[in-house]
Amino acid sequence: MRINRFRAAGLAAAAGALALTAACGSGTPGQPADTGGDDAPEGATTVEFWQLSFQDVENEWYEAAVDAFNESQDEIHVNLTQVPGDAWEQRMTAAQAAGNAPDMYTIAYNGVVSAATTGQITSLSPYIGDDVWSDVQEDVLASISVEGEHYAFPMLVEPSAVLWYRTDLFEEAGIDGPPTTWEELQDYAAQLTTGDVYGFGAAQSAGDMGWSTWGLQWNVAGHLPISDDWSEAQVGDEYAPLLQAWQDMYKAGSMPQQALAGYADANPLGEGHLAMNMGGSWFASVLINDFPEMVGNIGAAPMPSFHGDPEAPTATLGGWTWVVDAKSEVPEEAAAFIEATLGGGDDEQLLEYFAGTQFSKYSPRASVNEALIEAAASSENPWAATIAEQIVPFSKPEASYPWDISMAFATALEQAMQGTDVSTALADAEAEINRLIEANQLAGTAPQP
């Protein structure tokens, strides 16, 4: 008891300090927006919902969805807070430390399993019926499940890797269509590099490579660099072609010596600095909104497969889910809101989200995805069908093992790019992953869906 009091005092002090940090953080661009808080009907149960702030059009959809739910009934009142990305970690950590975490919040796929196994989020299975879950794609469902319990409701999926290419530059150089092999990609990249235009742009720092190359890791090796039960590293020579490709293009100057922007940023492509750009499906929305004059000159295709199999994965399905905090006192009400908004209560409204983002994201629910692809055909997004039909079906879920493992492999990729011998870089990664397994006692702890 005494220890608990000490602990509570310590936590309060830490929370105070973190709250101060968070307060400072809120001064950064993009203030949190609160909606729905002032007009809660008397007697209604309030559900606090924190949403990571995205594009304006997405934020507006969240506000509309919350308003629609609040107006549809008077028993549950959802209070939405939009938190800017640069303040998210501080605000959430401070809230968790003070015991004031929101009832529900948005979380990326690769964080779900970890949050579930460490008791941060609660299972939604008891609150949402099997008929709703059965509409979610099997792979996606597996990525948010631990021992048969579903801990998050998937909202959208975004393929992490699409090959965006400049059709006009290809035509000028006399190149027909996008590359289908890595030899072609490297050859085209060299040909298309002229002046301030680089042939190929992709992630070039370990932090970006860590997640954006999961699909290519699957593609080149047929597995990720750790065994399924997380007991040992699996970093053999099968990964060499991937590292060699980055090394060759960097050395040849087909890739810039420093990434022109972060991996998630489509601006270098839109501004005309890249002839080919490995980027996520979200590029579509940015290109249509910010660079409409370039849309006609840009094509989209799957990243080439290392072994020639067009159905081998080249991307992972990232994206966002909604979860309920383990300490929430109103999990049932929060789950009711989730089910009504994402689980089939009003799919028309959900489709509006995908339409608003120019069909640059896809639904993990089969029924919604069908309607989405149909609607996308007549949309201003010329790449939606290609991505939906040639990339999404073959993509893998995001890796759920600790981030350090991804960083260890990505560091090897960056080392190779910077000139380290490929075998040496792979050996370093293998040693580091094995050290991490030992240090964090990971062996045998891989969660089973």
Binding site: F6, R7, A9, G10, A13, A14, A17, E89, Q96, A97, A101, S114, T118, G119, Q120, D196, Q204, S205, A206, G207, P256, Q257, Q258, A259, L260, P268, H273, A326, K327, P402, W403, D404, T411, E414, Q415, Q418, E432, R435, A439, N440
Partner: protein, 324 residues
Amino acid sequence: MTQTVQAEPTTLGTAAARRRGRPSGKQPRARTGMNARSNKMAYLMLAPVVILLTIFVVWPVVYAVYLSFYNWSFYTDPIPVGWRNYMNVLGDRTFIESVGRGLLFAVMVVPVQLVIAFLFASLVRTVSGRVATLLKVSIYIPTIVSGVIASIIFVLIYNYQGGILNAFVGLFGVEKQAWLGNVATALPALAVPAIWLGLGICSLIMLAGMVDIPATYYEAADLDGANWFQKTFFVTIPLMKNIFLFLLITGFTAAVQQFELPLVMTDGGPLERTLLPNLYIFQHFRNDTYVGYSIAAAILLMVVLGSISAVIFRVLNSEKAVDG
């Protein structure tokens, strides 16, 4: 033998002098009462600071040490892991390298900062009042610029595509460089804004130290025919020893703990070449499920910085009042 005999009174004298500061039971009663009242008042006046320090410094540190022996999160009961967190941190090549890199960064930043600040303060001291004020304001401006803003400004300067620095070196026919993307240039590129940001406060403290030196010393030196270099090396620098010590300790610990610049400018890359210890700890705090590891790393960093500060104190022998 004679030397030994002579040494004893000195030693005893020193011990007696040390004891002199302590309250003694053999003092007259009236004096004791006055001392007691003085002590009470002293304790009373110290109490607010001691209480605040205990709440906001001592207790969090003690609690952090306690937590470092646990796997701990906000949602689960702490799991005792003994020294495992410390062993893991010490076995992590990245942590050891980040500390070494922090020391290297401090070596890049602090001496340059001290030299420039000393020269600048010397200049300010020699010019007229109005010009001196202008110079002081100018040098102090970087200090009030936010580290984050400075980082963004320098990212724009170093930008590979369209950066001002590459445009400048391009005038001399030099190919554009990936200043922040090249393993050889990334850390020095971070050192430049670090020097720039710290120069203002460093210069003003130096200036304050210089102004504090009695003019009579310089007048005496002038009478002896000393030139500027002689006055600088035999008067100014020896009398500013404590100022240098202060700036060295604070500059060193600040440089090793630099966080904003690598966070905003490089996120620790390329290849961890700008991953300084605080950023390493932050990245673990942000990504790890349990925070015991980050806390253990922070405590080890505290030990490293404390040890280095103690060594600097020892080497510069600061307890002597150099101008007294």
